[in-house]
């Protein structure tokens, strides 16, 4: 599996061979690689929109008092920012883009198990995102509930909640079907000889993720339908004025939405687990521990949801049980970090951009995870719950974690996707801006959160001004970093990439860059003595 192919007898997947040309050849393609790229382009558009919405909020928050627009617009902005970033960027995230592009090749398959279903998932994604966005322009104005749609506010507000909720419902089906597809693919289509414990670790993380997608997403689906039913038919599930229980909504919402955090972060951890061995030229340390810890996170992650609700008036018993379970889920994440760092020990480390982003990920993810410990503990959570501290914490996880892992992945698989290299120096500069900008943007939010600054505040008390202004400048640096990175990757073609530019040992590096339509000329077989990451 190490021999590099030097001839191109089969056309690459980027060359149109079907009956359509141009855009149509992409929109009708069931090739997992093309679908992965289409997800990536759509997600980049949503991501940039989400970033700009965030910057517009930071601008308003630069000083206390009203600066540029009023509270209704602000409430609409943070709602839209949340919906876009959560439902259309980080939840599909790495699984939809790199899971689609790389996973089938990494396990030695020609495609996913159900290629047409895969394309259908993509269309559901676009339709769901489209419906969510129409909420901005139709009905009684943009929804103003926050992405959590908490009842009874979401039942009572006059804004266009139904469209946003229905969009999220449709996006959920996209996620469920992708998860189902991946589970079947990994069960049925691994290369002969590749047992589960010889499967690379990015597919392993996707496997754990897929089970969460399949089992948890239906719960939020039905919950969102209940919100719609309640608004239209006044049923009384959640709104106490109709006889419902608003805390029930929170339980149902978080039973999905906490595991959803693991839908986001597990594939990110998986990508990092690929990048570190490649650039250290070392067999990954603790292969089994990393694989099993993904499953452990997925499993224990189901039973921690109510840590979002310590102040909701739950019984003290429920509060301490959920706190205890929350602390247990921290352990498998710690195991991964220790194994990553140990994989670098006595390696031969090549500081290329993907590795640099991976290091950034580990640092930011550690801060995100460790500040999560103060949120898991009861007494400290009570103080910082629903403050800027929480905002900082989850941005360290979903942006510092998932976002930086996404950037790492794009720099890692870019040569495979396009058959071209990119400028390393510019990629490193982009990393510098992103890393410094990110920390300057979100770290002050920890401080003002501990000082007592609530989240979702259009206006604030004067003692929080300095923190808000530092965050604003951090946001500017971050934006510069994003522009630098995207222009470096997509503005002009780099040098032609070899099949294996980084010296990786997984199957995707044995096929040409870009890969042919059916991935392999000769289907790979894993020998008895072979293992993934068998660096010599």
């Amino acid at each position: 599996m190490t021999e590099e192919k030097t001839h191109h007898p089969e056309p690459s997947y980027l060359v149109n061979t079907g009956k359509y040309k141009g855009l149509m050849s992409w929109l009708t393609s069931t090739d997992h690689k093309r679908i992965g790229l289409m997800y990536m382009y759509a997600m980049m558009v949503f991501f940039i929109v989400g970033v700009l919405l965030g910057e517009i909020m930071r601008l308003e928050l630069f000083r206390p008092g009203q600066q540029f627009y009023g509270p209704q617009m602000y409430n609409g902005l943070f709602t839209l920012h949340g919906i876009i970033m959560i439902f259309t960027v980080v939840i599909p995230g790495l699984a939809a883009v790199f899971g689609n592009f790389s996973m089938p090749i990494m396990i030695g398959a020609k495609d996913v198990a159900f290629p047409r279903l895969n394309l259908f998932s993509f269309y559901l994604y676009i339709i769901g995102a489209g419906i969510a966005l129409t909420s901005q322009f139709m009905g009684n104005g943009p929804p103003d509930t926050g992405w959590t749609f908490y009842a009874p506010y979401s039942i009572q507000t006059h804004t266009n909640v139904v469209a946003a909720v229905f969009g999220a419902f449709v996006l959920g089906f996209s996620s469920i079907l992708t998860g189902l597809n991946f589970i079947v693919t990994m069960h049925r289509m691994r290369a002969p000889g590749m047992t589960f414990f010889k499967m690379p670790l990015f597919p392993w993380s996707l496997y754990a993720t897929a089970w969460i997608q399949v089992l948890a997403t239906p719960i939020v689906g039905i919950t969102l339908l209940m919100v719609i039913a309640e608004r239209w038919l006044r049923i009384g599930f959640f709104d106490p004025s109709l006889g419902g229980d608003p805390v029930l909504y929170q339980h149902l919402f978080w039973i999905y939405s906490h595991p959803a955090v693991y839908i986001m972060i597990l594939p990110a951890m998986g990508v990092i687990t690929e990048i570190i061995p490649t650039f250290a030229q070392r067999k990954v340390f603790g292969y089994r521990a990393i694989a099993v810890s993904s499953l452990a996170i997925a499993l224990v992650g189901y039973f921690v949801w109510a840590h979002h609700m310590y102040t909701s008036g739950m019984s003290p018993t429920a509060r301490w049980i959920f706190s205890l379970l929350t602390f247990l889920v921290a352990v498998p994440s710690a195991i991964k970090v220790f194994n990553w760092v140990t994989t670098m020990y006595r390696g031969s480390i090549d500081m290329k951009p993907p590795f640099l982003f991976a290091l950034g990920f580990i640092f930011l993810f550690m801060i995100g995870g460790m500040t999560g410990l103060t949120l898991g503990a009861l007494a400290t959570n009570i103080h910082v719950h629903d403050t800027a501290y929480v905002v900082a914490h989850f941005h360290y996880i979903v942006f510092g974690g998932v976002g930086f892992a996404f950037f790492a992945a794009i720099h890692y698989w870019y040569p495979k996707m396009y058959g071209r290299m990119y400028n390393f120096k510019r990629a490193n500069w982009a990393f510098g801006f992103l890393f410094i900008g990110f920390n300057l943007l979100y770290f002050p939010q920890f401080i003002i959160g501990i000082m007592g600054m609530p989240r979702r505040y259009f206006d604030y008390l004067p003692q929080f001004t300095l923190g808000m202004q530092l965050s604003f400048f951090g946001g500017i640096l971050l934006l510069i970093g994003i522009i630098l990175m995207i222009t470096n990757l997509f503005s002009k073609k780099g040098a032609i990439a070899p099949a294996n530019p980084w010296g990786g040992r997984t199957y995707e590096w044995t096929v040409p860059s870009p890969p042919p339509v059916e991935n392999f000329e000769v289907m790979p077989v894993m020998g008895e003595d072979e293992e993934p990451y068998d660096y010599k």
């Binding site: 209704q72 608003p246 805390v247 602390f327 247990l328 670098m344 007494a379 010599k536």
Partner: protein
């Protein structure tokens, strides 16, 4: 000593959890950077492979497990007293409504600020009239959601004289960020004097009570300040430019106009204000109540 009986315990839990975390963050980052520099390809061109080590895995499962259980414990012990209310605690009812707080003392006396005597256990019984709010006093390290239809509570002992911020931390709509007030900790004597001076339950006009009950005053002030929409002060009898079906016209604010505005808020929109912000109060505010409101409007010119 902190501002409430919880400060010490909560801050200790913060110090322990953040302290351990900081130690590991710095430690792991240092080791990682050391490896990256020490084993860079230029100096270390060939990687040395290593076998998995179960002992090492078990070590770094066990140590974090012990540490997180310790963190859980400190979080739990500092939290536990928050749910055990002493028998002699003084009850105060908190009524949350978009977007202001009301504190009701014994005898039904109401105040927009929370005034409490030093060193005395205070029990806050939390009620919401509309959506979920959350009462947060950062200096006291306490917070509990105010959930409609549920009787949540919180209690504390104020330990230091002074004035502290009270904030709403559960997003509750348009003026969420303005739903703030103060907690004032005073001596027992000052407290008694303050309570005595607090006017007995509402001598306010019936119309104002109706406005407050329906949260009208969240967006329309009664003192002339501009909130979300126009103030009620001086409204009656005023001449306004309005948009009716997209056409601009001048009207005088009279009984008929006020009725339209309450029952069909989007019909005549005052120029400069957006449509669709206010919901209809048809079936919520009766004609009779509305007449009382109009009577009240006539008194605040």
């Amino acid at each position: 000593m902190g501002a409430s009986n919880y400060v010490e315990g909560v801050d200790l839990a913060f110090k322990i959890i953040l302290g351990i975390s900081f130690f590991f963050l710095i430690g792991i980052t240092t080791v990682m950077l050391y490896f990256v520099i020490r084993y860079r390809r230029k100096k270390h061109p060939v990687a040395i492979q290593m076998k998995d080590n179960n002992l090492l895995e078990i070590t770094w499962i066990t140590i974090p497990l012990i540490l997180v259980l310790l963190m859980f414990y400190f979080g739990y012990v500092a939290f536990r007293p928050q749910r055990i209310v002493p028998k002699d605690a003084m009850p105060i009812s908190v009524i949350a409504k978009m977007w202001f707080w009301t504190f009701e003392y014994e005898g039904g006396k109401q105040s927009p600020v929370l005034v409490v005597p030093l060193k005395k256990p205070i029990l806050l019984n939390l009620h919401s009239d509309d959506v979920i709010h959350s009462l947060y006093i950062p200096a006291f390290r306490i917070k509990e959601d105010v959930v409609p239809g549920k009787s949540n509570y919180m209690w504390f002992i104020p330990e230091q004289l002074g004035e502290y911020d009270i904030l709403c931390t559960a997003y509750c709509g348009l003026r969420h960020s303005y739903m703030e007030t103060k907690a004032r900790v005073v001596t027992e004597a000052e407290y008694q004097a303050w309570l005595l001076a607090l006017p007995a339950k509402s001598s306010e006009p019936a119309g104002l009570t109706i406005l407050k009950k329906n949260a009208c005053t969240g967006c329309h002030s009664i003192d002339g300040t501009k909130l979300v929409s126009a103030s009620f002060k001086g409204l009656y009898g005023k001449t306004e430019k309005v948009l009716t079906d997209g056409k601009e016209r001048s009207i005088t604010v009279d009984d008929a106009y006020i009725k339209t505005s309450v029952y069909e808020p989007d019909k005549d929109i005052v120029v400069g204000f957006p449509k669709g912000v206010m919901k209809t109060y048809k079936g919520i505010v009766t004609e009779e109540e509305l007449n009382q409101v109009i009577d009240y409007f006539k008194t605040i010119k």
